[in-house]
Symmetry: C2
Subunit: 304 residues, 2 copies
């Protein structure tokens, strides 16, 4: 099952005791990193996350607190003798900034492949490098610059039922093929279909990551039924609502309302303002809006 970790929970500026927001999702020993602000390589190391496992980086937008850690991270990967290419997905409007940052690295011992995503329409693609059953979805959100939210959906194979396979006389060496969804032909000529040996399909695992946006309605559907909804909450003080509206951000309360409408299982708040020193002070109030809210701290971890 995927392991997920919020390496940092800060917005705008890295602080001495709070790294910038970045999310690490690991599955099958391979990882996706979402966003890479200044100091991300240190944030990852502080949470014992291995940069060598990162295969894909998803960038939400071109603001410094989401991208300036890229040169340091890529150079560190080079120092660790990485040779495999890395794939970076980003909104097309972030291309210039990201290319400029990568140019700082000079020659790297591996390829950096940029994949530009549309700014204005939702798309999806398979995260083959992690797992062919993992799909990434984007949603354009509303910030001061073009910004994307991401959902990751991992389809899960139906449970394999050894007793049924045995009763049909399927050799053990063919079980793996059947479990992966392909039919097999036995020595006696019989063709066995996967659904003859598989149980009910299990529900997929869904993680939705939304930051740097107004709490727009499309987020509700985008995060629908997520097992984990990671969402910005810059402030917990309602007096900041007007300022957040102007800057294209949301309050912790907004995130809770989105979580409630989207019927997500759990909400992790993140991307706190540097001026919000104690987001945990709002826990009681927020739990009334959405009981399964976690006021995340750097290094918040979970296996889904």
């Amino acid at each position: 099952m995927p392991d997920i970790c919020l390496a940092g929970t800060g917005g705008m500026l890295p602080l001495k005791d709070r790294y910038l927001t970045g999310c690490f999702l690991e599955y099958n020993g391979k990882a996706i990193l979402i966003d890479c602000g200044e100091g991300m390589q240190v944030a990852l190391a502080s949470s014992d996350l291995k940069i060598s496992r990162i295969e894909m980086i998803l960038i939400t937008h071109n603001h410094a607190d989401h991208v300036t850690g890229l040169p340091g991270l890529l150079l560190s990967m080079g120092n660790c003798s990485r040779e495999e290419p890395i794939d970076i997905y980003l909104p097309e409007s972030a291309e210039r900034v990201v290319r400029n940052l990568i140019s700082v690295c000079g020659r790297l011992p591996f390829d950096v492949r940029l994949h530009m995503l549309p700014d204005k329409e939702a798309v999806s693609f398979t995260a083959d490098k992690i797992d062919p059953m993992l799909t990434v979805y984007t949603l354009p959100v509303r910030h001061s610059v073009k910004c994307l939210a991401y959902s990751m959906l991992l389809e899960k194979k139906a449970v394999f039922q050894p007793d049924k396979a045995q009763s049909l006389g399927v050799p053990v060496k063919m079980w793996r093929v059947l479990h992966s969804g392909e039919a097999v032909t036995l020595d006696d000529g019989r063709v066995i279909q996967p659904d003859e040996v598989l149980g009910d399909k299990r529900p997929p695992v869904k993680v939705t990551y939304v930051t740097d946006t107004l709490p727009i309605d499309p987020i509700v559907n985008f995060a629908k039924d997520a097992d984990l909804f990671i969402c910005e909450g810059m402030y917990g003080d309602a007096d900041k609502k007007q300022s957040m509206n102007e800057k294209g951000h949301m309050l912790m309360q907004d995130a809770c309302r989105l979580a409630e409408k989207a019927c997500v299982k759990e909400l992790w708040l993140t991307h706190y303002s540097p001026a919000e020193k104690h987001p945990e002070n709002f826990e009681k109030e927020l739990k009334k809006l959405f009981p399964n809210v976690i006021i995340s701290k750097d290094g918040e971890k979970k296996t889904l």
Copy 2:
């Protein structure tokens, strides 16, 4: 007198417990920052150094551990409502990388003025913004890319002697002019020269900052008689000498030998390799080479 602080002491990679090397020299409430690797704004804050006081930034070379903190630092200055221009001095070979990094900031509420310095010849310029008596000197050193060392020399005014001024009948309001080195004309027509009221000239204060270079001979003259010589020492283990030669770095022992030859008053080691976990273990050995060596830690401070 100038206050100096090494905000970080790491080389190559920022670590959880060691920021990247950066030096903050403050005088008259205004500061020079030398180098700005990833996380520098956090390193400065951790040592209680005010980014609002930075008037000039000196860059040694274009490697990521010396420059990638620039966008974050400049944006933070903008968040603090800075409007005054900032002056960045850099070797001309670092221009592209530094411009690319600054472009990440988008629009800033103040001007960033780049001053390209020759890569291949030593130059000097007055740091007027800090003090007209402060001069910065450069020295091209030998690294894998073009790199500059910096010396800062603060001339000190001779001591003003009030008894002499009084006996000559100079009104108190004219003392400041004389102390600054200009003659004054009294009401009775007499012209008083500064040397009539000033004591002996005091020796200047000199700080030399050398990193990312082989221990080349010209450094000895460049650091000559410095009150403080800040110098890289990647490793303390002599087995690393060959590797350091290849990479254009030096050992702690090399720095001590340079300090001894240059007759500096004090040496601060810095820019330790991330693999050098305990540079302090070499203190006893290094003190035999140069007794006034300090194995600096992040936040090392001194008033000169």
